[in-house]
């Protein structure tokens, strides 16, 4: 064996423990969670593989620098309260991030054991600890600072908004959280499907934030019901904007507005937020044909494709213009999608959609691509192959190219500086160009991850606290 040749001090255990999953043939017919989580034994075994590196490369890989070896060590000793305490120092959402972080490009990408192809399953262990806490069913309220008399408005209840709200309320400020939709949670509720992130877990976090005393106002659109200036001129001393990247992107090719061509946001919102998979018990329908094409290669595309399959599609094709290696989706979900029978067509780009006689989409014209020189993102740019056009039958399309910054707040706040992509300009503490207004998450990044939204929220909450008490 390879590790014996190199003679490490202690024999490395390279047996990365797989997490049990629902059988692909079964799970493609239901919306229940796919990954079932570690058992106690599995968690112990996986945790004991960690060699507790002095330099902690894994911690560097985590966007919020969780002290990873410090939370793994107590798992070995079955001291889960201690493990949880270490996690909570840096993240307020371990149960969520353990499930949805792209670990293969963050913490696990830096794990020493990756060199041996068997990084510690950090995300799975994080999930294990968080699920243990949830099973205890007795969230202890943290210590609350005495009231400061300051009032803060948090706009948007995604992972960022929830984190800022909890942090500032704990520090003694009065927090009101505004949400445009009828449910709190942002993308965690309307985008990421139940089978990847059970909604009960998200709502558990929302309930926790409310239990701290945060007032949640649903059905309230900031920019419409109140502008930022109206909030500041009335009761509020500061504002956090966490309105996310809710502007769906389209391809801009002919025929894209035909009936049965959806943006991923519509497709996923109907399915997840409105529960179209339980239609007609739930009133919202989703009309879908048997052959579904999903355009894109990120998490949004994987989620659309796997929802389509579960809603009863016979054939689901993912069309991506680069190759598998460039796919931004979380690796585990790509593997899951493949196992479930979703077909991938790499280096392919749709150039138009064709209608049946009634303006429903019935076919898609595609062009094959090859990889050229690297572009600004460092990924090799796809270039069209001349004459490679072909037409394929489809009855439903989910355009899953991702989202751009939500324009509602910037459009109604003239003195809020934005970039040419419509994202908000902030300093390293999340302070915007407008007095008393901070921001973070996808409205600043233009679309990143749950953990980065959470991390930016933490930093901004600290800066807001210093301002409010300084």
């Amino acid at each position: 064996m390879e590790e014996q040749k190199k003679k490490p001090k202690k024999k490395l255990d390279l047996n990365r423990i797989e997490m049990p999953k629902q059988d692909p043939m079964v799970r493609k017919g239901n919306f229940d969670e796919v990954a079932l989580g570690y058992t106690h034994e599995m968690a112990l075994q996986e945790a004991s593989r960690c060699i507790q590196c002095k330099k902690r490369p894994c911690t560097e890989g985590c966007p919020v620098n969780i002290e990873i070896p410090d939370f793994i060590e107590p798992i070995k000793e079955d001291n889960l309260p201690k493990a949880l305490e270490v996690l909570k120092r840096k993240t307020s959402l371990p149960g969520i991030c353990g499930r949805v972080c792209p670990q293969e490009s963050q913490c696990e990408a830096k794990c020493t054991l990756l060199k041996k192809d068997a990084p510690i399953a950090i995300g799975r262990l994080e999930r294990y600890v968080a699920d243990w806490e949830r099973a205890q069913n007795k969230t202890t309220l943290p210590e609350m600072a005495p009231p400061t008399g300051k009032k803060v408005a948090v706009v948007g209840s995604g992972p960022g908004g929830l984190t800022v709200a909890a942090d500032l309320q704990k520090l003694g400020h009065t927090v009101v959280l505004f949400e445009a939709l009828h449910v709190a949670g942002g993308v965690l509720m309307y985008g990421i499907p139940e089978f990847r992130l059970p909604k009960a877990i998200v709502q558990g976090e929302v309930e926790y934030v409310k239990s701290l005393g945060v007032e949640l106002h649903l059905d309230t659109v900031i920019g419409i019901n109140m502008t930022l200036d109206e909030l500041l001129n009335t009761e509020y001393d500061a504002i956090y904007v966490g309105t996310g990247a809710g502007l769906p992107m389209f391809l801009g090719v002919p025929g894209e507005n035909l009936n049965m061509i959806y943006s991923a946001n519509e497709f996923l919102t109907r399915t997840n937020l409105m529960k179209a998979y339980l239609y007609p018990e739930y009133a919202t329908p989703l009309k879908m044909g048997r052959r579904v094409a999903v355009i894109g290669g990120g998490n949004v595309a994987m989620d659309s494709a796997r929802c389509a399959l579960r809603l009863g599609a016979e054939k689901v094709d993912v069309i991506y213009r680069r190759s598998r290696a460039e796919m931004p989706a979380r690796l585990e979900e790509v593997e899951n999608a493949e196992e479930e029978g979703i077909e991938f067509h790499f280096l392919t780009s749709p150039i138009g959609f064709l209608a049946d006689g009634r303006n429903n989409v019935c076919a898609m014209e595609c062009l094959r691509m090859e990889l050229g020189e690297p572009d600004a993102s460092g990924r090799r740019r796809p270039v069209p192959i001349k004459g490679s056009e072909y037409v394929t039958d489809v009855n439903t399309v989910a355009v899953s190219l991702g989202n751009a910054a939500n324009p509602l707040v910037p459009n109604t706040t003239p003195d809020l500086q934005t970039t040419k992509w419509g994202t908000l300009v902030v300093d390293k503490n999340g302070k915007t160009s407008k007095a008393l207004v901070w921001a973070g998450g996808d409205i600043v990044s233009g679309g990143a991850t749950v953990i980065s939204a959470m991390g930016e929220a933490r930093i901004a909450a600290q800066a807001m606290h210093e301002y409010l008490t300084g």
Partner: protein, 281 residues
């Protein structure tokens, strides 16, 4: 929770509701709409405001029973509550002193145009209203519109799947007399099929014609793209960039109408929106 404080049946299967929603009433403008959800398992459905009272914190809308949610709404009583009610959404109708404005309305547009006409009158416009209704039994709102408009033209009949509704006659007539008897603006709040025809009638004489587009909507805040319309070659979202658009710049009416009526088939079990007996007429 949002309480129903008044309910009135205007004509069979057409009702007016008054809802307690101070936040909505506070900012409501003519032409804007709300989205409501009746209960935990309900759909998000949009309705255009037909009136409001800022002091009382109430808003009103008129709805036609066409499918599941609207039938359920019709069963509700004063004192019942709606789980969710958000608005005012969309851009308000553009109001200015235009001169002579012709409003063409049918279906719920008959009620939803009320605040628009009132605002137009306040700005000193002369308003001619054409009210299209399939038959005398289904006619409502006549009295109110007669009172607030300078002139009301009734166009009864013309349904039945053939695009030859009677409202086309009075509007063609008015357009014919233009510019001798000038029309400065046409505002239409009606079904897609009708509004499209009005636009073609006014196009040759370049009379500014604005249509109130109501495609399918889900979130109503610009997040889902369900309501996208092509305006001058660009995708626009009716819920945030509209619902009022320059009718002469609307492209792809066929596709827009197909998407609008996507759920109006036997699969979902509602026939009411099929053109032959479209309830918007």
């Amino acid at each position: 929770m949002f309480s129903i404080v008044e309910k009135e049946e205007l004509t069979p299967h057409v009702h007016r509701l008054k809802i307690e929603a101070p936040l909505v009433a506070h900012k409501a403008q003519p032409g804007q709409f709300v989205i409501l959800i009746i209960d935990e398992k309900g759909e998000r459905v949009p309705f255009t405001l037909s009136g409001w009272n800022r002091d009382q914190g109430t808003v009103e809308f008129v709805f036609l029973e066409v499918g599941k949610t609207t039938r359920q709404l019709a069963q509700m009583k004063v004192g019942d509550t709606l789980n969710h009610f958000v608005g005012p959404l969309g851009r308000p109708t553009h109001i200015d002193n235009f001169g002579h404005v012709v409003c063409v309305v049918s279906g719920y547009g008959i009620a939803a145009i009320t605040p628009v006409i009132e605002a137009l009158k306040e700005k000193g416009n002369q308003v001619t209203t054409i009210l299209q209704s399939p038959d005398p039994e289904r006619l409502f709102g006549e009295e109110k519109l007669r009172k607030i408009s300078d002139e009301l033209v009734l166009a009864l009949g013309g349904n039945g799947g053939i695009p030859n509704p009677t409202s086309l006659k009075p509007i063609s007539q008015l357009v014919e007399n233009h510019p001798e008897q000038p029309i400065h603006r046409v505002l239409a709040m009606s079904s897609f099929c009708l509004m499209r025809l009005y636009c073609e009638i006014t196009r040759p004489k370049k009379i500014p014609t604005f249509v109130h587009l109501a495609p399918l909507m889900v979130d109503g805040t610009g997040m889902c793209g369900a309501c996208r319309c092509v305006i001058e070659g660009k995708n626009r979202f009716a819920c945030v960039d509209g619902p009022e658009f320059d009718g002469h710049l609307v492209e792809g009416w066929d596709v827009l109408t197909a998407r609008r009526c996507s759920y109006a088939d036997e699969l979902i079990g509602q026939q009411s929106f099929q053109c032959a007996s479209c309830s918007q007429w």
